[in-house]
Symmetry: C2
Subunit: 351 residues, 2 copies
C-alpha cells in the first residue's frame, strides 16, 4: 500500500514521541511492503509562533490531501491562564476537527496486566476493563454560538445537535459494539437537556436495526460514578462532545496505563491518530516521555486502513517491551529505564 | 431556638430515611432546648401522583415560609426511560432550586477511617481526603432556553451566566476556603467556553480580596482525572452547574462512604439539606436504606443555623454507631446489620 501520512508533531513532547511512531511505522512499512510518504506540517503553539495561526491553511491542505494524520500533542502553558488570549492552540485543534470532519473520537481504555498495580483503583475493580468511548467531536457546545452581551457582564454558549449528527455517531457505536461484546451505553442528561432527549430518542429509534446489541441509557453523572466503581461493566459508550471530554479523561486514569492510551478521530474520509496524553511541557526535550501511546496510535492507524496484521505487530512489540522492561522512567518503578528514543529504537527493531 | 422545618420526604427510600433524621433532630432539640415545628409537604413522583405536579405551589409556600428544608430523595424509574414524559420529578427539583434561590450546592467528600476499605480506590490514594464542592445550582445550561427547531430535527440548550451569578457563588467559595485549608480551585473549560472565561476572569478579579487563599484554575477534564488520582490534593472547588453535577457525583464514590454523604443547598435566605444518594427504588419499604447521610444532612442544617454543638453531637453519634457496628447492611460486610429505623433509634438515643 502507498500511504500519505500528514505528520503533526505539535508542541511539548509531541515531536519526540512522534519521531518514535515514525520509526516504528517505517519498520512496519519495510516488513509488510508498504510505502509511507510522511508530510510534516505545523500545528499548535509551534504554528502560532511560526505563522500566527494554530492550524494554518497550508497544514489543512496537507492533512486534507493525505490518507491519515498522525498527531503528537498541542498546548503550551503560556496560553493556559490567559482566557482572553486572542489566538490559542486549542482553537487550532477545534478548527482542524471541524474542517477535516472528524466527528467520532474513539477512545479505548484497556489494561496491561503488567501495569495493573499502577492504577489508583484496586486491582479487583479494574481487572478486565476493556471499554471504548465514542465521543462526538464536531458538534455540541464546542461549536455552537458563543459570546457576551450586557457589556461583557453576561456570557453564553449554545449547545446544538441535529438528529443526523447523532445518527452518524450512534451508527459507528452500534457497528463497533457488533465487533465487540455487543453492549452499547448511551450517555446523556435526558432528564435536563433537550439535546440529550434528542440523543436518547434517536438512539432508541436505531435499536431495531441492531437487534443483537444490548443498549442501555445512563445519565452522565451516574456514568461518572460507575466508571470509578465498575469500569469493567462497560463495553462501548457513546456520548456528546462535552460529556465525552470529561468522561474519556476520567476513564483514562482508571486503568493505570494512561500514558499508553491511543486514540483515533474518524470522519467520512481521513482519520487522525494521537496519544491521549497532552504536550507535557515540563518533559520537553528531556528524552523521558513515553512514546508508547503514540506508537499504539500508529497501530490504530494501520488497523483503520484494514491492515490488521500490521497493527497487531505493533501491539505485540509494545507488549514485549513492557514485559522485558524496555520502558521509560514513568513505568520503571525506580528500576532501569530507557530514553524516549531508545524505546522507539527497540520497538522498531522488534517489529 | 424555634425552628420551622419543611419536611420533603419525596420518593423511594426518602420517607424512611427522613423519619430517622426527624428522630435524631428531635433528640437534639430536646437536649439543647430547641423547638422544632416540622411541616411535611409533597414533592417528586409522590406529588405528581397526588396533585399532578412535582413541586406544587402549596409545597413552595411551606418551604418559603420555613427556616430550612429537610429533603429526602426524588425520582422514580417509571419516568427515566421516557424522555418525552410531560411531567417529570426532576422538574420539581429544578423549579424548587430556582424558586427558593438555592444557588450554592455544598457537597463535601470526606472519609471515615473505618470505611476506607470500601473505596474503589487504593487506601493511600484516598486517605485524608476532605474536599468540598460548591456547585452553582440555579444557572447555566440547566436553566437556559432550550427547545427544538426544524420540525424537531434540531435540539438546543443554552448555557448562560452573568458575572453577578459567578460572584455570589465564588464569594461563598472564598469564604469557605478561609475556614478550611485556604485552597480554592476554580473548575472550568475556559479553553473552549465563553461562560467559563467569564467564570475565570471573575474569580481572578476577586483574588485580591482574599490574599490568604491560594487559587488555582483547572479544566474540568483535568479535574475529572485528578479526583481519581489525588483526591486529597483538593480543598474547596467551585464550579458551574453541569460540571458540578458530574464532578460531585464522581467525587462521592471515591471515598467509600458515598451512602453517608450529606449536602446542603444554600441561597440568600433558607437552606435545603439532603443526602446525596438517590431514591433507591429497589430498597423502598424494606427498612434497609442507610439513614446516616440524611442524619448528617440534619447536622449540616443545625450548623448552618450557627448551632455548631448540635451538629457536632450528631456527627459524634454517627461516628460512635460506625465504630460499634450499628449499621445497615450496606456497611455490615455480611456481619450483623440493623434496620433503617433501628439505626435511627440508636442514634436518637445516643444524642
Ligand atoms: C484542548 C481541548 C480543546 C480538547 C477538548 O476539550 O476537546 C482536549 O481536552 C481534548 O479532549 O482533546
Ligand atoms: C435529578 C437531576 C435533575 C439532578 C441534577 O442534575 O441536578 C441530580 O442529578 C442532582 O445532582 O441533584
Amino acid at each position: 500500500m502507498k500511504l500519505n501520512i500528514a505528520l503533526l508533531a505539535g508542541d511539548g513532547i509531541g515531536p519526540e514521541v512522534i519521531e518514535q511512531a515514525v520509526k516504528v511505522s517505517d519498520a512496519i512499512a519495510k516488513k509488510f511492503n508498504h510505502e509511507i510518504n510522511w508530510k510534516p506540517a505545523l500545528t499548535g503553539a509551534a504554528a502560532i509562533d511560526a505563522v500566527g495561526e494554530p492550524y494554518p491553511d497550508e497544514t489543512h491542505e496537507i492533512c486534507a490531501s493525505s490518507d491519515a494524520v498522525l498527531f503528537g500533542a498541542i498546548g503550551h502553558p503560556r496560553f493556559d491562564n490567559d482566557p482572553s488570549a486572542k489566538v490559542r492552540p486549542e482553537q487550532g485543534l477545534l478548527k482542524m476537527r471541524k474542517k477535516l470532519g472528524l466527528f467520532a473520537n474513539v477512545r479505548p481504555t484497556f489494561t496491561f496486566p503488567s501495569l495493573l498495580d499502577k492504577s489508583p483503583l484496586k486491582r479487583e475493580r479494574i481487572e478486565g476493563t476493556d471499554l471504548v468511548f465514542l465521543r462526538e467531536l464536531t458538534g455540541g457546545i464546542y461549536f455552537g454560538e458563543k459570546g457576551r452581551r450586557d457589556e461583557g457582564e453576561t456570557a453564553f454558549d449554545n449547545c446544538v445537535y441535529t438528529r443526523a449528527e447523532v445518527q452518524r455517531l450512534a451508527k459507528k457505536g452500534f457497528e463497533l459494539a457488533m465487533t465487540r461484546n455487543k453492549k452499547l451505553c448511551c450517555v446523556d442528561k435526558a432528564n435536563v437537556l433537550e439535546t440529550s432527549r434528542l440523543w436518547r430518542e434517536t438512539v432508541q429509534a436505531m435499536e431495531k436495526d441492531y437487534p443483537e446489541v444490548e443498549v442501555s441509557y445512563e445519565f452522565v453523572d451516574a456514568v461518572a460514578m460507575r466508571l470509578v466503581q465498575w469500569p469493567n461493566s462497560y463495553d462501548v459508550l457513546i456520548t456528546e462532545n462535552l460529556f465525552g471530554d470529561i468522561l474519556t479523561d476520567e476513564a483514562s486514569v482508571i486503568s493505570g496505563s494512561m500514558g499508553l492510551m491511543p486514540s483515533a478521530s474518524l470522519g467520512a474520509d481521513i482519520g487522525l491518530f494521537e496519544p491521549i496524553h497532552g504536550s507535557y511541557p515540563q518533559a520537553t526535550g528531556l528524552n523521558i516521555a513515553n512514546p508508547m501511546a503514540t506508537v499504539l496510535s500508529a497501530a490504530m492507524m494501520f488497523e483503520n486502513f484494514g491492515l490488521q496484521e500490521e497493527g497487531k505487530a505493533i501491539r505485540e512489540a509494545v507488549n514485549k517491551a513492557l514485559n522485558k522492561g524496555i520502558v521509560t522512567e514513568d513505568l520503571a518503578d525506580g528500576g532501569t529505564s530507557y530514553g524516549t528514543s531508545e524505546v522507539g529504537d527497540w520497538l522498531a527493531e522488534n517489529i
